[in-house]
């Protein structure tokens, strides 16, 4: 089975779904590696848990639906969903978070709608929203990068805290979050948000240790690694350049205008591009061929809509980062976008020339 993601005339592409999904998952590897080195090995354990859960729940639901189990499992789409969810959640979240999330993504969001190709929403992001709404505490406990942590975290500690809520030496997650002065450190976006709400200016907030140059310590490199993986996907023609470019451009332009208008309260465009999940979402999540827009013009609109929503929620909404909500809301708009951006059928004139 191969995706027919373009309107006619169809160009055949020899790549199978399994091959595409595998390449996208492989392109995540630089980002995952950087995250593991800078933020500790929690993300690797989350990956293993997510992939095992995804395969088990996919096999279970395929069996229930009376579909061929192994043929469908081999298309790697469950694997990719698991990878995207595992890198999106906090690396030291308890094990049941990722298990509940992945099972929900595969069973409810993907298979109950009819399986691969029929889901309205991006499974990984719908699961992320489920987790964020249901378990707000666990889903916001991000540890600072290893270089800022007051306690050294070994790989074994990652296992201990994911499965027992405490590291092997007995520290809870909120203790690990604190720096050497005992002040809790959050993600750059979260820190900035809290500081701005306390009346600090942007410059005052950016002096904190969780920030480095124009973005967050560690987060800058993670985003650069995902950017590299994403560019590779574009070079391989796995994803179209339109959606990532539109997401990044609209976020860049909007935050540039906003920061010029209110330099003390809105972070600049570079901060927004290299903080949180921007690069991961722009290249790997928004480009999901099933739930994204399928026309060329539509992809630009879809990406720009995600950028706009992220900008609005990050600066005026209730959450520090917003890709999951933005992607789901844009998914809802996709049928409308596709309807109004239908390409001209070969042999027909554009409507404007008909008169």
């Amino acid at each position: 089975m191969s995706f027919k993601i373009a309107s006619s005339p169809h160009q055949h592409n020899q790549r199978s779904t399994a091959h595409i999904m595998r390449l996208v998952a492989l392109a995540c590897l630089p980002g995952i590696a950087v995250q593991a080195v800078l933020f500790g090995y929690g993300v690797l354990i989350q990956l293993i848990l997510a992939i095992v859960t995804a395969w088990l729940s996919e096999a279970l639901i395929l069996k229930l639906r009376g579909k061929p189990v192994f043929a469908r499992l081999k298309d790697n789409s469950a694997l990719l969903t698991a990878v995207l969810l595992a890198v999106a959640i906090p690396p030291y979240a308890p094990w049941w978070i990722i298990v509940i999330g992945t099972a929900f993504a595969i069973i409810m969001v993907k298979q109950l709608y009819g399986g691969l190709g029929n889901n309205l929403f991006n499974p990984a992001m719908a699961a992320y929203v489920l987790l964020l709404v249901s378990f707000p505490l666990q889903m916001t406990q991000w540890l600072p990068p290893l270089s800022l942590q007051s306690v050294d975290l070994t790989p074994l500690d990652a296992v201990c805290s994911i499965f027992t809520h405490y590291s092997c030496s007995g520290f809870s997650l909120s203790q690990l979050q604190a720096n050497i002065d005992g002040i809790t450190m959050a993600t750059p976006l979260d820190t900035l948000r809290t500081d701005l709400s306390r009346g600090l200016t942007l410059d005052e907030s950016l002096n904190r240790p969780v920030f480095f140059a124009f973005a967050g310590t560690g987060w800058l490199w993670v985003n650069l690694a995902y950017l590299a993986g994403g560019l590779l996907l574009i070079q391989q023609k796995i994803i179209s350049w339109r959606i990532p470019l539109a997401v990044i451009a609209s976020l860049f332009v909007l935050s540039a205008i906003a920061t010029l208008a209110a330099p003390d309260t809105v972070a600049g465009p570079l901060f927004h591009l290299f903080s949180g999940g921007t690069m991961l979402a722009a290249f790997f999540i928004a480009t999901d061929p099933v739930s994204a827009s399928t026309t060329n013009k539509g992809r630009l609109v879809y990406g720009a809509l995600i950028g706009l929503l992220v900008f609005l929620i990050r600066n005026f909404g209730g959450y520090p980062d917003a890709y999951a909500f933005a992607v789901l809301l844009a998914n809802m708009a996709v049928p409308l976008i596709d309807y109004y951006t239908r390409p001209r059928t070969y042999g027909h004139r554009p409507r404007s020339e008909l008169k």
């Binding site: 409810m108 709404v133 707000p136």
Partner: protein, 231 residues
């Protein structure tokens, strides 16, 4: 007696107000966070439905058809007021936790729907039976959804049953599992929608299975060929 059986089947399964007619979804989704709330609202709705079906059936030959809807609404509204005052008097805590959804029983389409579709055309006894069965069907859906959401959400069943049934009911509270972290989604409105969708899907699956069984039984009669082998 066959009419009684038919009414029972219609109310509880085939034409269930919650799962098939999808009437009264607003209270159905809003108050089913716990079994106790579901039971309270289900009982209140059942009472109102019973009263309104009997009353409408009694006056059905005296009311001009042009003004029947306002008359039905008046009957239902006065019954709801009675139930609301009763709950205010005897189950005050539950009254507080159900809040606006008790007066809103007036707007529950299931009630005026039964008045219009059944009670205004049938004698008192069938109308009363219809009301009981429809009310029970609605209450069962409320209970199923409430149980699902309460177990998933906080790991208990019949939490706060004493609010409805008096102090002895504290023993009813069952802790299915101990949850340090409540699964908020199940208790929030999205969980109600998801749970409702799953319940409807379950009912449709069972119906399809039953249908398949029936056709298999019918089709299994072997046809004896008497005119020689088919070419």
């Amino acid at each position: 007696m066959s009419q009684f059986k038919e009414l029972t089947l219609q109310g509880l399964w085939k034409n269930n107000p919650g799962l098939v007619q999808l009437l009264g979804l607003c209270p159905l989704l809003a108050v089913t966070a716990t079994v106790t709330n579901a039971l309270g609202l289900g009982a209140a709705t059942l009472l109102v439905l019973l009263g309104s079906n009997i009353a409408v059936s009694l006056v059905r030959n005296h009311v001009a058809s042009e003004i029947r809807i306002p008359v039905f609404v008046l009957i239902i509204a006065s019954l709801v007021t009675v139930v609301q005052l009763l709950m205010n008097a005897y189950t005050y805590d539950l009254y507080l936790s159900l809040g606006i959804f008790i007066p809103l029983i007036v707007t529950n389409c299931a009630i005026i729907g039964r008045a219009e579709a059944f009670a205004s055309k049938n004698p008192v006894l069938p109308s009363a039976i219809d009301a009981i069965m429809m009310g029970l069907g609605f209450m069962l859906v409320l209970l199923a959804l409430g149980a699902m959401r309460e177990v998933l959400g906080q790991g208990t069943l019949f939490d706060g049953a004493d609010l409805l049934l008096g102090d002895w009911a504290k023993v009813l509270r069952i802790e299915v599992f101990h949850a340090d972290n409540h699964f908020l989604l199940a208790m929030l409105p999205p969980g109600a929608f998801l749970g409702m969708g799953l319940l409807i899907a379950l009912k449709n699956t069972i119906d399809n299975k039953l249908k398949q069984q029936k056709t298999v039984e019918k089709g299994s009669i072997a046809r004896a060929r008497v005119t020689g082998a088919a070419q």
